[in-house]
Amino acid sequence: MKSDNDNAASQVTIKQLIIASGRNVSALTDALSLMINSPVVVLAADGEVVAASPDNLGTNGYRIIQRKPVNENEYTFSCVLVGTENQYRSFGWTITQNEQVLGYCLVLCDEDSSIPTRFNDSIEVALSLYVTHIKNRVSIKQENRRLKEAFFYDLLFGNIKSNSDIISMGKIWGWEFHHPHLVLVVSTYDYSTTLQNSYSAEILKTTVDRVLASKWGTSTGTTISRNMITAVIETKGNCKSDQKREVIGLFEDILKSFDENNGISSLACGVGQPYQEPVDLFRSFQEAKIALEIGTLKGEKISFFNEMGLDCILFKHDLEDLRGYFHQILGPLLEYEDEKEDLLSILESFVECGFSVNETAQITFLHRNTLRYKLSKIESILDCSLNDMETRLNLVAVFKIKRLHIIDKTI
């Protein structure tokens, strides 16, 4: 039984909590911390800090480990709270509404100490007050995300025709669109199917967001569409090679951070060209998707649109024309191939190795003299010299066609 004095004290603290909650969630947490005389951290369900008292505990986020129920109550537990730098022994309560977990209220304490039972009523009230704050926070985040995605859609599909509109809207989320930006898209090799799983896509987006935030700060944004993650990033390098290095570094970081156990085995990235004016970013987006598509066909992990050149032209060209060209250049060899040795793949390797006999000999495991003999045989079949520039250009083009139109078995 509680004494009258305890009841009176409890009423006073509950009143203080309600008044503090009326101000904001930080004030509520400060009041709770003051009441129980211990540091308090309130986390959202995803581990993000909602409020902390003292303030310096509010870092990027925490993970809850070694969770053990207390008094067989599933909503009260002891645990270890792991942050980026420190970890704390804690006593926690799950903040729930209609059995849906909204977050956690954690009191940092020593291993042996426990929260006196006289605070139970006050903590229960605090938990219900946190429900309101966390739900408000979630709805604000959802609304923010909805607005951000609508803005992204309009930006990436050229629906906003004025630079100043884009720049002023971008400032809402801290994006400086008066600097040149480019668009990159990240997806899986088989991007038409795998990322239909929205859970995998969300995880990938979170990974990309985290890497971008660590490298670029707030001046980047990502969005998720049906099958890919799109990021708009500010280009910092002065020349093309610097920009390329930057983007490759970024993608490598994404690959490193991405946990392959999340159901997606391999990622590919397409990069559009940088544009000074934000109204042109829709072009960069389309270019990035083309780069991804063609790069995926070529088996490349990262592809830059401004390096696509001939690939892009050949990919879009009429297939019948390409088929005719392919047979015109390699026809005699294909006919010969039906009966004899694999000269076509030797020629392909020779082209891939930049027409270097030494390199080709290494990758095909042939002796140089054997390779020379086979190449001269190819020359006689095709009735042309492999040293001729025109022939070399044709061979590069036809093998590009072969790779790009790999789905079409007839070529």
Binding site: A150, G158, N159, R226, D280, Q286, L297, I407
Partner: protein
């Protein structure tokens, strides 16, 4: 998340009557030489009604120097004719030959999926006019029917543009129309 709209075509049901073409022209009052929707015969007796596919990666959109195109949140790609300078880059870039150049106005026009009708809650004129039900409108994210496929034989390569069009798998007709000559 947006749920774009797409045309769903059942080639097995299309009889090549061109009612969709006529309905499109009546609705949009296009000149006689402009065909926003056109019916092509992809093989003998197999017809395909084609218009702008409002692609996920529209090439017309990317190449336009005047930034005249935009894509609505429901996936409809629109062209602002007042911005068009008649350069025809979109005409050559589109693999489906959807943008149509009008020499008399020096502008390009194209199917807008009857956006104004759709805003009123009506279906596009071509879909409404199709007497066999070969043409219909679907929401892309909801098209998980196994009978619905991304492409069919005879249709242009979809890899680069990802058109918002889906097809019913081609079925062998249960009944054939036999002419008097064939009967004899």
């Amino acid at each position: 998340m947006n749920n774009p709209k797409a045309f769903l075509v059942d080639v097995s049901l299309c009889i090549g009557c061109r009612a969709c073409e006529m309905a499109c022209r009546n609705e949009n009052l296009t000149p006689s030489h402009i065909h926003w929707r056109h019916v092509i015969e992809i093989e003998e007796g197999v017809f395909l009604s084609m218009a702008c596919n409002h692609c996920e990666n529209p090439e017309c959109f990317r190449v336009c120097p005047e930034r005249a195109f935009n894509k609505r949140h429901d996936g409809i790609v629109e062209i602002n004719s007042s911005l068009c300078n008649g350069c025809r880059r979109c005409v050559t870039a589109c693999p489906y030959h959807a943008p149509q150049y009008n020499a008399s106005t020096n502008k390009v026009t194209r199917c807008n999926m009857c956006a104004t009708r759709q805003d009123r809650g009506e279906i596009p004129a071509c879909v409404e006019a199709c007497p066999t039900g070969a043409l219909s409108l679907i929401l892309l994210n909801d098209s998980c029917n196994s009978d619905v496929v991304d492409t069919i034989q005879g249709f242009t390569d979809i890899r680069l543009t990802r058109p918002s069009i889906r097809f019913h798998q081609i079925k062998t007709p249960k009944r054939w129309m036999i002419s008097d000559d064939e009967k004899q």
